[in-house]
Symmetry: C2
Subunit: 440 residues, 2 copies
Amino acid sequence: MSPPTAVIVTIGDELLNGDRLDSNARTLARFLSDEGFEVIRAISVGDEAASIGEAMAEGAARASLVVSTGGLGPTLDDRTREGVAERWGLRLIEDPTVLEELERRFRERGYHELPRTNRRVARVPEGAGTLSNGHGTAPAIHLEVPGAGENDRTLLLLLPGVPREMEGFLRGEGGHLLRTRFGGRVQRLERRVFHTTGIPESALAGRVEAHLAGVEGVRVAYRPSLRGVELVLSAGGENASERLSAACGRVGEFLEPFVYDDPQGDLAGALGRALLERQLRIAVAESCTGGLILGRLTGVPGSSEGVAGGVVAYANRIKVDALGVSEALLDAQGAVSEGVARAMAEGVRTRMGVEIGAAVTGIAGPGGSVEGKPVGTVWFAVSGPRGTHAERLLLPGGRAEVRERAVQHLLHLVFRSVLAPGRESRPGADDPSEHEAGMS
Amino acid sequence: MSPPTAVIVTIGDELLNGDRLDSNARTLARFLSDEGFEVIRAISVGDEAASIGEAMAEGAARASLVVSTGGLGPTLDDRTREGVAERWGLRLIEDPTVLEELERRFRERGYHELPRTNRRVARVPEGAGTLSNGHGTAPAIHLEVPGAGENDRTLLLLLPGVPREMEGFLRGEGGHLLRTRFGGRVQRLERRVFHTTGIPESALAGRVEAHLAGVEGVRVAYRPSLRGVELVLSAGGENASERLSAACGRVGEFLEPFVYDDPQGDLAGALGRALLERQLRIAVAESCTGGLILGRLTGVPGSSEGVAGGVVAYANRIKVDALGVSEALLDAQGAVSEGVARAMAEGVRTRMGVEIGAAVTGIAGPGGSVEGKPVGTVWFAVSGPRGTHAERLLLPGGRAEVRERAVQHLLHLVFRSVLAPGRESRPGADDPSEHEAGMS
């Protein structure tokens, strides 16, 4: 049984003149795919009612479901209601339930009466139903029209364009409506997401494919970013859970040193919890990353228990004064060196009186390269009660990319050392020849 | 004369299952709008040749220009060439010039012969022209088909999907082709962008509208973000430059305290240059922002001359030990207070031996609020040779938003104090009652 088809329609002039990135289309695409629909097309149109109606009708002619977003607000350039009504020859009728909820909400906010423009959002095409988001703003609208779905009917679901409101409907009454309406026809995809760090996409893919050889009915996708690669396994249909669990079991063991678990997919969050559980505190000394490591660590709510703070030692003078790096060492090895990285990590650990000190010093570019130290050269050090580990990577990309990769790699090193002190994971560089490491 | 119309077609399964955000559509929309086209629709389809051909044909039936992106690579799921050829009944012919360039590039990379899969990208629909991006990867393809343009012809321009490559074609031969082909019919929009900081969108809009009352033929747009509001004035047609200059003159004077100039639109970049020009150095002490201010400042290439570094004093112990904040002050006023912000700014300035010290201490949430200090309470201080200025804001939003707003506001305060020491700009908070400031 093939999955029901869906068309996405995103509405707004700002999508066609480039003023706004269409993130709603992606949110809807992911949601509908996960719910078991096959999204066959996404269309963006401007605010004119005729264009909106035309796009909705094209969607209905192709698919069992059309979901639109945008054009439901109270202002005159919100024309989705009109577009749909005109296209299918329906009148717009004021919905008393919607009107009542609107009036109540406005009274609660201290208005004597509902502003005339806001009254517009209570108008819905005749025969349509409405969904409330509980916030008393524009309702979502759903109606059945002649179309390409089973029994030649297509469901139109009109959602507001404010991302937070749209997502609220998907999680709530909108998602519920789709599951009721399409019932047994959809096979929801189950997916498991592994957040990995410290392993390049090519290496990850090679090992995943080897471990999943012969496994049928499980889709594998990789989402690489500067923060690592998300591995997504998904399956639908009968026994989807069993197939997925079997596949996860096969890849789980080799993935273990590279996987972290965090609701936001943030390695800093996983590290923060690991520090709390072990009652450890960290301080960081940053040169080329200039504060971004501490920024990531302190971005996690409640991080103050495990993260003491640190020093951004951009100037060499500060490496000496605030971290106790010796001037002789700086002269002999240069600021980007194993010795200075170790001294920074040990210095910040001692001076801030914490269990773990970490440091990064490198050349983010575009300038600053010297003989034998090209742009992208970065030294990392992690210092703990059992000693100091240091390693060097040659990171690709421009300044921002080198810095973000360096942040993630340091978090990775600290995370591994907190989880399994003394055992270091394999390096994350694509080319092992560009990598040095030593434990002292 | 109405502008020529354009349809955007973005291609790839990853756009329809939600794996990728469609940033190319926005880049194209902005580019085409600036070039004077009216973008009337954007369509995303998957990788099947038939869907691609259908979307291209629908575009041709509506518009004078169809620009697609994606599906031109060497792998078997790159089917844009096939989709177009099949739809218009054209053969795919190997282009000898393209083939020659490909072979040369692969020889340079040390290949003995062109891999079979890469040979695919030399195939173009008969009658089509190609554009080279000079990188020896897939060429762009252009051809004329029956359509809705003048003389019933529509131009199809097929661009690759890798954003960097697509943008290269727009800046280079692709943009040139459009200007030649549509010549006098397009009126390129001229635009002026003002990057503002420290003024909310509503206040900015009110003042802009008052100053532009009676001005005709200039479009005004606001692009708000946590980093401030971009004000965009644009005009097209005859005397566009004159009208635009007149409008800019009207708003320029009142905007002056809120505007900064930077090629990347980054206030940290503008501040970095201002520091260099005046041969000043800055150090920053951060509490709730946790390193993000220093991260922004050091993100600017060449920033090491003006940015010495700083201290992330997340724990109170570090405020005392590394910055010299007195324990008595911390006990009396609390960590989030005017006194502590001043002491942090003065401490980091003195200890790091620089001309300007700046500090932020606040409650980013979700926890940490105390009586009289709700989440979002942030104290800022800037210390220079003429004294220390401190002010408090109550910032809206969740943890990440409070932090990013605080970063931007501190950069704004430092920027104003560097440009015009002793003169402070008006506060950026929406509600003046939530704002305190003092100069000592």
